[in-house]
């Protein structure tokens, strides 16, 4: 019984150490698994795949550095896919912390991997504007009321890519990528529903269950956490095998996630064994 007590009162630093190892070891050993896109993720991929070349897609990067590991792999995969299909990509953000991440995405993926694409013709970075859902409300009727220039100070009217877009209804698809409020829910309520614009999303794993009520009628598809990102990456690799050699952080992070989940489950099982052992011991003592 002393052993059960020792296990029950285990030093939490041992638990922390196990979690550290469960993340680091699979990363070092490069443990990866085969992923298959679930219907909720595949819907987004199929929609982008089926849109005619040159369709206008708005990416709203509504997150901060804390959720980069979960959201950024989705953003990178989406940007690659949109460019492969020659769609017009519009970047913006509802979060002040998103502007730097948008610029990083534009510089490190859009401009670096697709140098043939022209800024202002094939893609544009509109940046951040305050107002949350109020901002979406205005963009739905008139984009130029809020966005008079892009992040570089160039007038919207001088950008070729912006000419056919008067308001949000000019987009063929809106993809909200975020980890909180305002985010995907606001895009559905204030743009997708009133404007009848298809909305898809990518969120953190903890946020995903809250968005399921909108799927599939109001929300076209949803990438939830690293798993969602890994599924999208695997679908991209299936259609465009050249990305097999490129960075695929979603798939790579599924290894540590799988091992960490198993470690947590083992701890829960051990915790319950000690709990039942203690209960049996207390029952016996009462019986005496």
């Amino acid at each position: 019984m002393a052993m059960f007590d020792r296990v029950k009162n285990i030093d939490r630093r041992i638990i922390f150490l196990c979690i550290v190892l469960s993340v680091i070891v699979p990363l070092l050993l490069d443990i990866t698994f085969t992923e298959k896109a679930s219907p909720i993720v595949k819907n987004i991929f199929d929609k982008i795949e089926s849109l005619p070349s040159g369709s206008r897609v708005l990416l709203s990067l509504d997150y901060g550095p804390s959720t980069v590991p979960e959201i950024q792999p989705m953003v990178n995969a989406l940007v690659r896919h949109l460019n492969e299909k020659n769609h017009k990509v519009y970047f913006m953000c509802l979060w002040a912390t998103g502007q730097n991440l948008t610029t990083i995405t534009v510089d490190s993926v859009q401009a670096r991997e697709f140098p043939e694409k022209v800024y202002g013709v094939d893609y544009v970075n509109l940046g951040y504007k305050a107002g949350n859902e109020g901002l979406i409300n205005v963009l739905l009727t008139d984009m130029k009321k809020m966005y008079t220039t892009d992040v570089h100070g160039t007038y919207i009217d001088d950008l070729e890519i912006m000419r056919p877009v008067r308001n949000l209804t000019g987009f063929d698809l809106i993809v909200g990528l975020g980890g909180g409020t305002p985010g995907i829910k606001e895009w559905i309520l204030f743009a997708g529903d009133p404007g009848r614009i298809p909305v898809a999303g990518g969120s953190t794993a903890v946020q995903a269950p809250l968005l399921y009520p909108y799927w599939p009628n109001q929300l076209l598809g949803l990438m939830g956490g690293i798993k969602g990102a890994a599924e999208y990456e695997s679908e991209l690799i299936t259609y465009y095998p050249k990305y097999k050699l490129k960075s695929k952080p979603g798939i790579k992070m599924m290894g540590p996630q799988a091992v960490a989940h198993i470690v947590i489950m083992l701890f829960i099982i051990i915790g319950n064994i000690t709990f039942f052992a203690q209960r049996a011991r207390e029952g016996k003592a009462k019986g005496k």
Partner: protein, 227 residues
């Protein structure tokens, strides 16, 4: 007057915004649009209020040498340095008209080297606390807790490829019990039903609260209690 004017503004704006959804034609449509623009402009001023409040609260703490006041110096200094770096675009290769987040600017340096590691660290620490808390508190004490525990296990397994390997051998007739299928079912049926019920409940609450505000019954937003 001090009380009546905000009440009148709330009643008019609230009523017009509701009407503009059902009658999106002039004058309601245009008024609804304009009110949304005013909201966005006012939202920008919230930053000024927030910044002012931060300086007031932490300035007081520093002045009074309250508990942990040196941390307030770090907060105020961090705020002011970031504000100046962003507002004047210090070090921005494209000058004052360039993107505030342009690589090489002081603002981006602060964001990349201070803000990003701090936020990432805070969020990462959660994994350790979740593991520790799950070990100590996640017990099958009764029937409800056991259902929760089993559901959590299925989702934990289903969100990883391990779930597939655990039950891939099941015959097609038992495909429903394949862990990823079961996890998807939990998310799409019981979770969805529960979330929808919560959302409908919250929405009804928001509608009644909004009506109370428009009618001037609820005055909590003005620092008063209900009428």
């Amino acid at each position: 007057m001090k009380r009546q004017i905000p009440l009148i503004i709330t009643a008019i704006v609230g009523a017009v915004l509701i009407v503009s959804v059902f009658i999106p034609h002039d004058p309601f449509g245009r008024l609804g649009e304009n009110f949304s623009v005013y909201f966005d402009i006012i939202a920008v001023f919230a930053f000024i209020l927030g910044g002012g409040n931060l300086i007031r609260v932490h300035g007081n703490r520093i002045y009074k040498r309250a508990q942990d006041w040196p941390f307030s110096i770090v907060t105020v200094a961090g705020f002011l340095v970031t504000l100046v770096a962003g507002a004047f675009k210090i070090g921005n290769p494209n000058g004052i008209k360039g993107d505030v987040a342009a690589p090489g600017s002081l603002f981006t340096m602060i964001y990349d080297n201070i803000f990003t590691p701090l936020q990432a660290t805070m969020f990462s620490i959660l994994a350790f606390f979740v593991a520790s808390a799950a070990y100590r508190a996640f017990r099958a004490k009764n029937r409800e807790a056991t259902i929760l525990l089993v559901t959590a296990f299925i989702i934990l397994l289903g969100r990883t490829p391990v779930g597939h390997y655990v039950t891939f051998w099941l015959p097609p007739a038992l495909e429903f019990f394949h862990v990823p299928v079961l996890a998807n079912w939990i998310m799409s049926i019981p979770n969805l039903a529960g979330q929808r019920a919560i959302m409908i409940g919250i929405s009804l609450g928001v509608i009644s609260m909004s009506l109370r505000m428009i009618l001037g019954i609820e005055r909590g937003y003005m620092g008063e209690g209900s009428k």
